[in-house]
Subunit: 311 residues, 2 copies
């Protein structure tokens, strides 16, 4: 029973704060929302918190309970803190110090390999594709009814973190089937969380894709793309549009955040891009990584890539 | 038992031709391939046929048995003809006359509402999201083992016809979970059948998206896009890139097939575009329809849309 200790930890608790990572995504809000509902079913009055001042992106506010999350610097005085989908306590943002000071009343539920398990009780499974999959397991073990809102919350996270079932364990499809049976509307969630874009932002992404260039660097074929004049959510989307490129060894997107700063996203089907990103002061996964640069031109990016491609 | 009559029809048969629609897609080849494997499990020697001279697109040839389909004008002399995923016998292309002449030995399995059920035995269910879902049902009813190739074949069709589970019955998710359990590799199929694109073709699609324009026509907001200088498979892909546009009533893509001819694709979340397409001499579904035009400029398209938007 994966959640035996976690479920025992709920005994006697009446109030809870459910915290997820700053700059939240679908798995963050989905898993926090489903956790709040599970706690409520067990008689615990819980609410959701994000340790930042910025409001959450609009699509996430359409998730169940999404409108009720607090973006703030202060956690209330509660019996229980549940930290979900945070690869480290630093990812709880403005709450980090508070949570460290109250680790004895904190439960961590996460699927990031980087998690240092610093709470009283830690349920951390790096092999699981989403934190929502873990929360689904918690519902099973506690025989908690999966209501339609809970099903939609968990499906939102599962869709986000598997990129619509492109990745993840075969078991993720069983969880999806179960969530749909309990009322999750996969099509509506895909539209809201993955597809939706304004015509003008799609036009901006089109312009960036139209400007892509292809470079032969030694034995490697590299695609570089520059994305500018876009709001942050649109910038974050552009890499997904390059996912299908099947005739390049590496895809590098220079996403201009402001006049001086840019985030570089690296993708590859078979190269270890985390090593290239590390050379740029960043990091990430084997097939998807990134780093931040200042004052770089596209020529600077290409020169950097040519230098580090064979690291 | 949906397939009771169809299964009985197999008795005594030794050889079969499985025919699917011309210009095949994932559901066509996936369902034909899974049918061939089901027939083989029942002792019938079957092969796949497409009634056209053109070779199948490369991604479809990666599906199980995909390389073994015959694109030709002649069907062999067999005991049984199974026509899958063809909304009408006309969609069997060069085989139409032959199949009409041998309707007494023909079985139709399909999910198009337009099907006229002209064979000896017809299993036609318009409410089912894919022909592969029907074939899966046939496997269940006949207790036929779903091998990994059969699972991949059926998953290919299910993914194609539901646009990766954006559409379809909740039961489609159960079928997907079952197919994954039997060895279907959803991620690999999505990559091959849906995502894969060359960098240069993505650049061409980007240029078309960059050139999109937004028009106010009365109360309606219309996005028009012109796509040219692309091979046919890339032209067919462009509409998928516009799927997420959420601030337009209608999306119209003029896809230039040659100097004179263009196919117009219409999409809407809430308008009945089949009526507009019909005014242009075409047809389709409520939310997705199209028609063919000759010698039209983009201005011609916009004028046509403005005229027929309120039909």
């Amino acid at each position: 029973m994966l959640f035996e200790q976690a479920t025992g930890f709920l005994a006697g608790k009446r109030t809870a704060a459910v915290v997820t990572h700053i700059r939240p995504d679908g798995d963050a809000i989905g898993s926090a929302s489903a956790t709040i509902m599970l706690l409520a079913a067990h008689g615990i009055d819980a609410a959701g918190y994000v340790g930042q001042y910025d409001e959450m992106p609009a699509p996430l506010r359409t998730l169940p309970l999404g409108k009720q999350f607090h973006c703030t610097d202060t956690l209330p005085d509660v019996d229980l803190i549940v930290v979900v989908d945070c690869g480290s306590l630093a990812r709880t943002g403005l709450f980090e110090d508070h949570i460290r000071a109250h680790a004895d009343r904190t439960l961590i539920i996460d699927h990031h390999a980087s998690n240092a398990c610093e709470a009283q009780v830690n349920v951390v499974c790096p092999e699981i594709e989403s934190t929502c999959s873990l929360i689904w397991q918690w519902y099973q073990e506690t025989n908690t009814e999966i209501t339609a809102p809970a099903a939609n919350a968990m499906m939102g996270g599962l869709l986000t973190d598997t990129a619509q079932f492109r990745y993840g364990r075969p078991a993720a499809r069983d969880i999806a089937a179960d969530l749909v049976k309990h009322g999750a509307d996969e099509g509506a969630l895909v539209h809201t969380l993955i597809d939706a874009i304004s015509a003008e932002n799609l036009q901006r992404i089109g312009a960036a894709l139209a400007g892509l260039s292809i470079h032969q660097m030694g034995q490697k074929r590299v695609v570089t793309i520059e994305a500018c004049d876009m709001d942050i959510p649109t910038l974050e989307r552009i890499v997904d549009f390059t996912r299908g490129i099947d005739d390049a060894d590496l895809i590098a997107v220079l996403k201009r955040l402001d006049q001086d700063t840019a985030a570089v996203s690296l993708r590859s089907q078979h190269l270890d891009v985390s090593r290239i990103a590390a050379a740029g002061g960043g990091g990430g996964h084997r097939n998807a990584a990134g780093f931040t640069v200042h004052g770089w031109t596209m020529a600077d990016l290409r020169e950097f890539l040519a230098q580090h491609l064979d690291d």
